[in-house]
Amino acid sequence: MFDNFPLWPARASTAAGNVDALYIFLIIVSGMMTLLVFTAIVIFAARYRHRRGVLAEQIEGSIPLEITWSIIPLGVFMVIFVWGAVVYFHSRTPPRDSTDVYVVAKQWMWKLQHAEGQREINSLHIPVGRDVRLIMTSQDVIHSFYVPAFRMKQDVLPGRYTTAWFHATKAGTYHLFCAEYCGTQHSGMIGSIVVMEPAQYEAWMSGGNTGPLSASGERIFAELGCATCHRSDTQGRGPSLQGVFGKPVQLQDGRIVTADENYIRESILDPGAKIVNGFKPVMPTFQGLVSEEQVNALVAYMKSLSGASAAKTNTATAQPTAPAKGNQVQ
């Protein structure tokens, strides 16, 4: 491959192969359609060019033909749709027990924090062969987390979490781009994804860690006095948060919602929006009092209360390509 004339992006995730396969299929299909139409045009244009004395033959049209060339493309399109939908559905459904990385985008930098505690700016170190899930939010405008080598892109919105995941397959350094126009230094909001072999990753992880994110979350939880109401028994003024994450919650108005990252985030910043059944709307809002990073830490803490990180550690160690790592490193 030419260094400054690439024709194909690096393929470094499990999703990349799926996307490329569909892409190649589409190139073949549309190449055939183009060939068909262009050949017909060229042949007709040459064969039926104007000759003196030869008149055009008037043809009204043909309903069978019209139906044929409506139905066949439609059939092809449906194949493309289904294939595309399968690829998309796969890329939008994060596997259970992935490693979490929290991403905060701002004009014009990426701030990333591993659940294990490592902080990074404009670069992300991850090991080969592990499912990594990104939990992303923005401090200002809409950004988009784009890694061409992973064929992965997800807009990062202010005021809520969006998530994405990937499973890197090849060690190397890949581009991270902001793909949603975000102002002056949009094109400078780039970084690198460093995919490392598990052993190197271990080494990298052990350097300069400040403890897991959930631990900082626990500290913030205590500092803000959350525990006075959200007690671990059921006697508090607020619901107990033990084991809540990932579970359905019955709300006062009868709805049942899943306690996911967005739910916890909303409950911190806009507590009145969803009142848990049987509790009073007495919690004050923490909007403006906590930073996006602190909210992330609280979410991570909430998850740890549900044993999410423990489960993660187990599967992480269970995976053949990703030997022992995780919490014991910290």
Binding site: P9, T34, Y48, A56, S62, L74, A85, A179, E180, S187
Partner: protein, 549 residues
């Protein structure tokens, strides 16, 4: 008039151009043909402004580093390139110039139903244009033509409100044109001009008008909300205040996706006329071509969120919109097949308009097929917001719409100006545009799949070769666009006088003099023939049309 006027000079026929002279006779005219010329001049002006921005963008991208202009300037350049080209050139281009000029003649009417509203449309356009120019000259705007919130409402420190209001006003120009066309097509057809005898150009404009009438008001209210949000911080699109930025995107694309069909449908209409004329044939499958225009307009409203697959909409919504997106692809494909089939057993001439039509077929086919890539969810995630998208929509909006516009301008130039353009130069220009276009935009497909995001002021070095190719193509393309302007102007003075029907074309517009008189026809035409009766024109009698099975 002096008695001494020599009688030997041929008596000049009165037409819409020489009937009256003077600025007032133009600026206060209600003649649809003069208004069309006013539009022609004003949109050409904006085309070259937008083109100038494009040139600067391409020059900046010649090198990976940001070295020609400042980052902020670059952001303003692509924003204003988009806004000027979309709202001040492409959307009014064919409807307001060719449609305005030809549609009343094609249906045998003296004018549009509301001539004064037609003039009002032009004035609204001019007011909007002046607002846009003022916005550009006093600092410009840097939000991207898409105005995405909350960047546009809370973060950009450029003239968002001015640009928004300019586009708001231009929207009403577009709405009134559409309204005028629909009423005209329904109410002003000549006796005998039934729906099945309408030229497909008119059908295409009818479909376009539906979008203008029903889509444009939604962008208008959306821009009102953006302006209000920016001025007063209401919170409607601001997540900090409880709003949803995706609501803006929904409302924006509800119009802005169908808006692509405002650009391409009239172009399809033009190409249909040209292919029929230069193949000397009735269009293959007239009913299906007419119906496909309407279905594109209707289905075009069902697909907008395919611009938002990675924006944060639900997976289910993405599936629905992806599925619906293919509903537009079918009628588009049907059109291409019918045009191709029309060539079959034709008697094909290769005059410049036909070359543009061939160019259109090629570029639109490629633009349409790459649309399939973007509608496929799995691929969309990778290529959206990259140069792949940029290449795709330029193939449709520039390759498609602009090829059609230029082809139509050549085809009807004898009717509009009463002069013939130089054929040799015109063929050369068509070739240059086609080659330049592909050189500019084909590399961008590769660039996009490799991963270069759009709206990047500086980029990693590995993308340079493809960008250089693209810039080189843009230079060629620029020459291709300058040429017609030069020889059209030249022909107005030096071109040979055009006969009334230089192409022996069917259609009522060719049965009046060139240029036409103010009320188009000497007396009310009565239509007794089918559309595209090239058999009668070429042989003097009706040929029994075959139905192939």
């Amino acid at each position: 008039m002096s008695m001494a006027t020599p009688i030997v000079t041929p008596v000049e026929r009165e037409d819409y151009l020489n009937k009256e002279y003077g600025v007032a006779s133009w600026l206060l005219t209600t003649d649809h043909k003069r208004i069309a010329l006013l539009y022609l001049i004003s949109i050409t002006f904006f085309f070259f402004i937008g083109g100038f921005f494009a040139l600067l963008i391409r020059l900046e991208l010649l090198t990976p580093a940001g070295d020609l202009v400042q980052a902020d300037t670059y952001n303003k350049l692509f924003t204003m390139h988009g806004q000027v080209m979309v709202f001040f050139f492409l959307i009014p281009s064919i409807p307001a110039v060719l449609g305005n000029f030809l549609m009343p003649m094609m249906i045998g009417a003296k004018d549009l139903a509301f001539p004064r509203i037609n003039l009002l449309s032009w004035y609204l356009y001019i007011i909007a244009g002046i607002m846009m120019l003022h916005c550009i000259l006093t600092g410009g705007v840097d939000t991207g033509w898409t105005f995405y919130t909350p960047f546009s409402t809370a973060f950009s420190n450029t003239k968002v409100i001015e640009a928004g209001l300019a586009i708001f006003v231009s929207g009403f120009s577009s709405i009134l044109t559409g309204l005028n066309f629909v009423v005209t097509i329904h109410r002003m057809r000549a006796p005998g001009m039934t729906w099945s005898r309408l030229p497909l150009f008119v059908w295409a404009h009818y479909a376009t008008s539906i979008i203008q009438i029903l889509g444009t008001p939604v962008i208008a209210i959306t821009l009102v909300l953006v302006v209000a949000e920016r001025a007063l911080h209401l919170g409607i699109f601001d997540p900090k205040l409880g709003g949803d930025p995706l609501l803006f995107q929904h409302l924006f694309w509800f119009y802005s996706h169908p808006a692509v069909y405002i650009m391409i449908l009239p172009s399809m209409g033009v190409v249909t006329e040209i292919i029929a004329c230069f193949s000397r044939k009735r269009i293959f499958g007239y009913n299906f071509v007419a119906l496909s225009s309407i279905s594109i307009a209707v289905f075009g409203f069902l697909v907008w969120a395919h611009h938002m697959f990675v924006a944060g909409i639900s997976v289910y919504a993405a599936l629905v919109f992806s599925l619906l997106s293919y509903s537009v692809a079918v009628p588009s494909a049907v059109k291409v097949f019918n045009w191709t089939a029309t060539l079959y057993k034709g008697s094909i001439h290769y005059d410049a308009p036909m070359l543009y039509a061939f160019g259109f077929l090629g570029l639109f086919t490629m633009g349409g097929l790459t649309g399939l890539f973007l509608a496929a969810l799995g691929i969309n995630v990778h290529v959206t917001d990259t140069y792949f998208v940029v290449a795709h929509f330029h193939y449709i909006m520039v390759g498609g719409a602009l090829m059609g516009y230029l082809g139509g301008l050549h085809f009807w130039w004898p009717k509009i100006s009463g002069r013939l353009y130089p054929e040799g130069w015109a063929r050369l220009a068509a070739l240059i545009v086609f080659v330049g276009f592909n050189l500019t935009f084909f590399p961008q497909f590769i660039l996009g799949y490799v991963g270069m995001p759009r709206r990047y002021y500086q980029y990693p070095g590995e993308f340079q070769v493809l960008n250089v190719l693209s810039t080189a193509g843009a230079t060629v393309l620029g020459i291709g666009y300058l040429l017609p302007m030069i020889y059209f102007l030249w022909s107005m003075r030096y071109g040979k006088p055009a006969p009334d029907n230089p192409w022996n074309a069917a259609g009522l517009e060719w049965q009046t003099q060139s240029p036409p008189t103010t009320f188009n026809f000497e007396k009310q035409p009565v239509v007794t023939w089918e559309a595209y009766n090239y058999d009668e024109i070429d042989t003097g009698h009706k040929q029994e049309a075959k139905v192939v099975a």
